[in-house]
Amino acid sequence: MKVCELLERDLDERERGRAGLRRIDRAEGVDARFGRCGDGADPMDGLVERERGDRRAVQVRRDGRGRARDGVVTERVMDRMHRRLDREDRDEENERGHDQSARAPPHEPSGRQQSHERDRPGHVGLIVYAENSEGSDRFRGGRELRGLEDRALDTADMGVGRGRSQQRSGHGDDRQHAQHEPHSSEETCRTQCQWPIRYTDRVYALGLAGRWLHLTSSVLLVGAAAMIVLAGRSDRATAQRWERTVLTSACWLALVALASGIVVLATQTALFEGRGAAAFEPRAIGRVLVQTQAGHVWLVRAGFLALLAAFLSIRMSVERRADWRAARGEAVLLGVAALVPLAAAGHAAAVEPDTARAIVLDALHVLGAGIWVGGLLPLALLLRAAAGEAGADARPHAVLAARRFSRAALGLVLVLAATGTGLAITHVGNVAGLVGTTYGRLLLAKLALLILALSLAALNRSVLLARLGGDGPTVGRPAMRRLAGFVTVEAGLALAILVIVAAMNVTPPARHEAPVWPFTIRLSFAALEGRAAEATRALIGSQIGVIGLVALITGLAVRAWRLPLAALALIALGAGAGLALPPLTIDAYPTTYLRPSVPYQAGAITAGAALYQASCAGCHGARGAGDGPDGRALPRPPADLRAPHTAQHTAGDLFWWISHGIPGSGMPGFGPRLTEDQRWELINFLRALSAGFGARGMGSTIERDRRWLVAPDFTFTVGPTPPRALKDYRGRNVLVVLYALPGSRPRMNQLAGREGTLAVLGVEVIAVPIDADPDAIRRLGDDPRVLFPVVTEGAETIVAAYRLFAVAPHVELLIDRQGYVRAITRSSGEAMDLDTLVAQVQQLNDEKTAGEAPPEEHVH
């Protein structure tokens, strides 16, 4: 391909990349993370653009499996949407004339336009989950091309992005390497699928208010219709008046829901498009409606709301029982149909895998909440009406309604608790997510309000409900009046919960956020390792705690002994906790549960090793034993970094110490000196170092079902073919052979001759020349024929990382189907009994791996 063609293409790519760039620029200066995640059909690279101030670094991440995503909008739909967007952007460009964009770097104008928005500090970010598929693909193409023009000139294939980035990572550029490697699905999701769009407080408040109003009216609609059905038909005047009032307000509520739905849609459009003005553009709104899943859901719901409003506005005769049932039942049906699809447009729709399960859970949760929360207000109205002197005729009806509602609510609350727990596990995952992220804290606030509401409900149920049927003027009516008041308060609490729900809807789920641990300690069983006395103490404490728990349950069940049992339970639980918990505590830091931004990967380890030698070896020693010459004068001897006690510390703990130092120990903070990624690389190296220390004992026979040594991923190239990663071999056994000619010649001949046998057994051989000779294939020769991959690029990195596990002239590492190193053979390269290897592989093949999770792609 000619140079001019390349440049033309480059320009074209830049042009097309504008949609992506504009979105990035919105969050410039904060931490714009976005990129694309793929669907199965098109595994592709993701691009992470980080811009901090003037410093700019383009990072390309290859998402080999391309499966991570998170979106209220499904990717395929967004894909289409962005293709359209790009096309239209280009069209607009053509209208405006090209010269402007040709002069200025393509990302600048849009960035300026929006700068007044993003410069406003101190507001909560609204986050859209969506994939910038097509846009960023092209964008990436443009960026990549620009950075690589020089290199591109001698390569014909300019296939957008992928080929290039892989080519580059194949060039053995370790630092780049480390950052560019595949990320776990979560990580990819977190960094690539969100565009934190900072909005002004006003827009945020408007969006939130709209959402709340919409949610509340939709929920009340269902509740009102359901409450009427629960109460049943009545011929009493007061009850009928109540029914009419509720129906009329339901009709208005449907209209309110429709109107607020439009506000929600408009804010959503603004978020999808990444610019506030889009909220008022019919064309942009149309795009969202037609091309996003959220839009489809909105259309369906709006259709049902309109139908419901029309249905409620028609006065029809419901004298007969069948008619009444049909009419009121239909109202419930339409209300539910208008509410429940919400589940398919929220966070649940972005869960992966098990999207369907999450949506069903969310749908049940929404439905349960709709009937319970929405039913409270109508019930309060009925009770209030019936409690009065004038409404005495409807009192039996109200009593019946309250009892039925109470029974239904009990079931609904159980459903809500069950589905809510399921959803919390899906969206929050762990305690760190619960206490350390915005989403988690919102959830805690929601729970607090819920507990308040439920206690009130329990009081109503146990005390007031029983009195309702009592003598009218003295017992029944006052009880009913009080109940009406309490139910109103409960409804108020429920509406407050909906505010939190609306906020949660626009907050990224905790699972995708970096949790900031708020406490200085945490509890972990790892603290007991090697401390027998403490372990005993914890055990005794836990047993006392169990006794307390049993006492508590017995106390709840046995009425007669309730007080003493409760006291016993309290004392036992307190004593148990006091005994068991202190030994379990470990110091914790805000970053304790932070997920590394750099995966456990040979390139990262090698980069970390270099950083270690430069910054740490002085005190901790060249081999990590804590015996460096500079460490002797320190107040505390430097830690032996090889020791297995690192299990007690999360990667986040190490990150904190490296960043901030350890006061009083002489360990300085490297925060100002090393970038975040460099610190993570260092941690990757430390993990590999510690693992390598443990791997000294690993021999050439496998230990059944004992997987602990994670094989760091690496990429390699064979000749001019595209780079591959070790991870691509998951599901097959891999024999990584680190060889050196001429010593390894006999063994290599042996392996080459029996490659067919090994292939049949499901073993892939990857040969890595220790001297990293780019001409390794030629040097191996053609007798016997060597057909397995021989690494010609990337060998240095692999050798440097894997030498932490074994040092010998010839090393063979047997990696199982899940990516764990299971056996290490150290030799000088002589021919060995191949049957031993075959036996090991057969044993590996016999292991059951179903249900075993592959190792995490990050250290933890």
Binding site: S317, T721, P722, D775, D782
Partner: protein, 122 residues
């Protein structure tokens, strides 16, 4: 009209509407996608095609007229792998030796393809 009849009518209309929409759009989209895939496959089969791919020579079988190459992806034909290809002429085999990085042209009606040209790169 009696209310229950009206309600029934509405529901029937809804069900029919949704069902009709699915039958009309949902099924048709699936059908169109299948047809598209079939048409693509039909267009590509039985026609002589040609690819230029980079690879590295791993083994030469002069007696069989086969060259074993570790090659990159051959779009629409096979993913990156190591495999043997027939050569169109013995000269092609003579021109290269094991370990050479090459750019070669594959030509033929899949799966019947042969290496027609080869050149060393780098």
């Amino acid at each position: 009209m009696r209310a229950w009849k009206a309600v029934l009518l509405i529901n029937v209309a809804l069900v029919v509407g949704v069902g009709w929409g699915y039958a009309f759009w949902g099924l048709r989209i699936g059908r169109l996608e299948r047809q598209l895939a079939e048409a693509k496959a039909a267009a590509e089969s039985g026609i002589e095609r040609q690819w230029t791919v980079d690879g590295v020579v791993r083994a030469i079988f002069p007696e069989l007229g086969v060259l074993v190459l570790t090659h990159g992806e051959i779009p629409g034909f096979m993913p990156a792998m190591t495999m043997g290809f027939r050569v169109a002429s013995p000269k092609i085999q003579e021109a290269v030796s094991v370990g050479d990085a090459v750019r070669f042209t594959l030509r033929g009606v899949p799966p019947n393809v042969a290496v027609t040209t080869i050149e060393k790169i780098k």
